[in-house]
């Protein structure tokens, strides 16, 4: 369950100033300065955070960009897995919903 409500139009952001990221092969250590916690991300969740840092977007937008970056298709990474990964990132504070739309 996400920290707060979200819709398909919710814009997800990641605040790069709050993180220190170190990559070890295909594992990413992300230290969150404000919370004092360290998170281990795999290539998928790391790519979601990077994309949300570079350009915040809604679920579909981020999904398309991440799949493109990782050269994966929807069969490899179903949208349900992607959405659950976004929610997990939200729960640990690495992603935040920026705004909501009724559209």
């Amino acid at each position: 369950m996400a920290v707060g409500p979200y819709t398909s139009q919710t814009i997800w952001i990641a605040e790069a100033d709050d993180f220190v990221i170190r990559q070890f092969e295909d594992v990413y250590f992300v230290f969150c300065k404000s919370a004092g916690t360290t998170h281990l991300l795999n290539f998928l969740t790391a790519s979601i955070v990077k994309n949300a840092v570079d350009k915040p977007g809604n679920m579909k937008d981020l999904y398309d960009r991440v799949l493109n970056d990782l050269e994966l298709d929807a069969e490899d990474c179903p949208s349900e897995l992607f959405e659950s990964s976004v929610v997990q990132l939200d729960e640990v504070g690495l992603l935040k919903p920026k705004e909501y739309s009724n559209a």
């Binding site: 281990l40 991300l41 998928l44 490899d76 897995l81």
Partner: protein, 189 residues
């Protein structure tokens, strides 16, 4: 196909495998230093016991227990006394009465003479539990927020209960995971 393409294909296959695990429910994010609830992690509760081999635990109706890897088969709901004695004789560890909590003891208990004509008596006064080799057990998972043990009735719970008993009886024994359980007991005080 070149070796570079080979390794690229292998790399992508590994990633696809990880995504399949994710789709099956494996977390995609792990947090160190604080739980998802925001509470601090207690390092003493995080140790994990890896079983070095398959383990069988025989418990009698008084809560005595024997730990080994002998073969033991039930026949008509009962174990042969010969097999029971053999298991006990070859057990790596044994525990006195009242070691296994009541939920692990056999529900009913009766014994037969040599009624089936196979030259052996049999008894239903035992319950057998099995654990697989390399199974991971995190005793801290069985400690609730108040610092009390909260055991189920499965084999892993029994292993944790006997580990705590072993730590009382012989804290320097070769019981697999003894240092883990000792550190937890020290923490719980």
């Amino acid at each position: 196909m070149s070796s570079t393409e080979d390794s690229k294909t292998k790399f992508r296959d590994q990633r696809r495998q990880l995504l399949r695990l994710g789709a099956a429910g494996m977390p995609m994010v792990l947090t160190l230093g604080a739980g998802a609830s925001g509470g601090p992690l207690i390092s003493q509760l995080q140790c994990v016991i890896t079983l070095p081999g398959s383990i069988r635990i025989l418990v009698d109706d008084d809560g005595a227990a024997w730990v080994g890897n002998g073969n033991l088969k039930k026949k008509k709901g009962k174990y042969k006394s010969k097999d029971i004695n053999n298991f006990k004789d070859n057990a790596d560890f044994s525990f006195p009465s009242s070691s296994a909590p009541s939920q692990f003891r056999p529900g009913s208990c009766s014994g037969d003479g040599d009624g089936d004509g196979d030259g052996d008596s049999s008894s239903s006064c035992y319950e057998l539990y099995s654990l697989d080799a390399y199974q991971l057990i995190t005793p801290g998972d069985y400690v609730d927020v108040n610092g009390s043990w909260n055991l189920g009735s499965d084999a892993a719970s029994l292993y944790v209960a006997l580990s705590a008993r072993q730590a009382d009886l012989s804290p320097n024994s070769s019981w697999p995971g003894i240092s883990c359980i000792v550190s937890i007991l020290n923490y719980l005080g």
